[in-house]
Symmetry: C2
Subunit: 421 residues, 2 copies
Amino acid sequence: MKDVDDIPALMADIGRRARSAAEVLAMAAPETKVKALEAAADAVWDRREEIMAANEADLAHGRDKGLSDAMMDRLTLSEDRIAGVVEGLRAVAAQEDPVGSVMAEWDMDSGLHIRRVRTPLGVIGVIYESRPNVTADAGALCLKSGNAVILRGGSESFHSSQAIHACLVAGLEAAGLPADAIQLVPTRERAAVQEMLTMTNTIDVIVPRGGKGLVALVQREARVPVFAHLEGIVHIYIDKEADPQKALDVVLNAKTRRTGICGAAECLLIHRDALDTVGQGVVRALLDREVEVRADETLQAIAGTQAATEEDWGREYLDSVIAARVVEDIDAAIAHIRRYGSQHTDCIITEDDAAAARFFARLDSAIMMRNASTQFADGGEFGMGAEIGIATGKLHARGPVGAMQLTSFKYLVEGDGTVRR
Amino acid sequence: MKDVDDIPALMADIGRRARSAAEVLAMAAPETKVKALEAAADAVWDRREEIMAANEADLAHGRDKGLSDAMMDRLTLSEDRIAGVVEGLRAVAAQEDPVGSVMAEWDMDSGLHIRRVRTPLGVIGVIYESRPNVTADAGALCLKSGNAVILRGGSESFHSSQAIHACLVAGLEAAGLPADAIQLVPTRERAAVQEMLTMTNTIDVIVPRGGKGLVALVQREARVPVFAHLEGIVHIYIDKEADPQKALDVVLNAKTRRTGICGAAECLLIHRDALDTVGQGVVRALLDREVEVRADETLQAIAGTQAATEEDWGREYLDSVIAARVVEDIDAAIAHIRRYGSQHTDCIITEDDAAAARFFARLDSAIMMRNASTQFADGGEFGMGAEIGIATGKLHARGPVGAMQLTSFKYLVEGDGTVRR
């Protein structure tokens, strides 16, 4: 079923309108953006019945399509979750405005005074799965950072996203900002995504947020720069010098608090000298919590574990499953993570500062942790307000992508008739 | 004439070796890198006769090919210029090492201590024109920032670049670092450039430095991320409130100090109310310095000017030529620059703070100047030591690209058995 005839023409028009809106938005006063975000939050709450009705249409369609329970859960908008969306919008409104802030300033002997100030990037394309709340988070963060945004949500959340998007537009209009500053692609056709990936004249950066299929498509087809966002194949290494209680607390929280988020632990590496003192207890505690433990040969001695296969290393379960393996030493743990990790978030449990320093220096994940749950891999927990996602690439943005990571900078240089010798 | 049979295989091998070297280099101690740079500087000076002999071969070849005087000049390495190369290497050695430096650190209520520290990017590809000194600058900056680099210099400087590259390798070896950390593509074939642009597994970012042809090729073909580097179509706007002496000093310096660099002024915009008081004097002074002034209708009244055509707006002359036009007001100047500029460097001459603020806010060039010569658009003049070039894109690097801009970052997060609620 084609709902739009000429997708390239549609997308080109959306791109042009976004570019125009971006010029206005880049110069919008902080208080104007706050007003738009607050008005959007009000609109979401006022129209919650409408949004839930739209969501019901998506859910009915999802049931017909036979979506998994996990997908249906992500898709569902209850009044509580809508309250969460409203709260998120207000939190972004309350954040400091990054645009125009002075990152550094200094004087040169030549007489120049140089300031480096934050600027918006321009137009951001966000491609995401069927989580309707991302419509609000991504729209809000782009607005806060002075960028126009083109949102393309998952097709299963089409109606819910449209209903939330209408509230964002109402907010923009209440503040006198161009409605085109936050556009939602009005088609479910996959071709629209393909089109976005090549709109180099009108989109400055693409933020993809989704599963392996989307990431692969983006890596293959994108001509627009991308903030890479790979899976979170999160490892926890229990060092020889691990504290048993900390290991237990951290691993259980990292695996079981929420299994479906990208910071959830997926693989446990245990130093062989810590196996009896710490490792066995941790594995048993995981089994007690009904986590399926896919274990290497040594750990299979623990009753209740299952045998891991080669496919279990480097796998993102997003479920109540963990791979587990005994390693010879810290370097073997590092080698395992280099080979199978995704440079998202990795953790060491140790009381040994030298071991922690070695782990931090020899691995290059966006987030490296020590004695802390990997579930903290989240913009909010880093003090950034909301986030669009966790970037696993190394260019421009890395780790949680909040409003600040959606900015660039320029140099403002002042002289007094100053010339170069 | 093909000098290498299988370019894809050659380049793949270079890429793999760069990736391995990058792993070692990322962990190299600051003093080891300093040692390598100092030893490279010594080698360049010790082997200056050899380098000049290699350069002579390039110059002979260039003469046969009928290169322009400007190109021959850029290609030429005198003993003085070699001394400059040596000085550049020592200056980079003396800079602060960016890798591992803490950009920010803070505590969260959850008990986490978070540090954001600089890391190398990995492998950098530098594609540049026939300026043999860039071999040394680019190699040194990548080494300083802990990155492996694949250098591809212009074919006309093939022998000179090889001779300088051999000195950089000698430096690496003296410090016990892998020779593959700085590789020079050993073929003049253009296919090697094309290959680099798609080596997404082994090159993390491409820094192109060259003319329109190269930039167009890179924009069309690159699958590897690129630090965009457009031309410097540099504008100077003489505002209604310009100080006549500052206008004169700045414009003359910006146009005539060196005409061939990217920060040289290419277009002069004059507020109509400043035409008689400031503008005419500036144009006459340019003519006196034998600058060709391509003028709009109004300015053609000044004897000695030539008529500008539409092609003169938005043109990078890199020569003793300037386009000049009268504008109605500051907004007309801004509109002209938005339409014809390249977001490299643009300047306002004014005593009016409000006008300067408007110019700075409404334009988005990497470098915005007030009452200062645009020839200051240079990493050294910004206090960054050397630079690989001036980035005109907005992602990751912008403005002068020095060692710091060649780094990424990661988060180091420490808890004490800390778990997320």
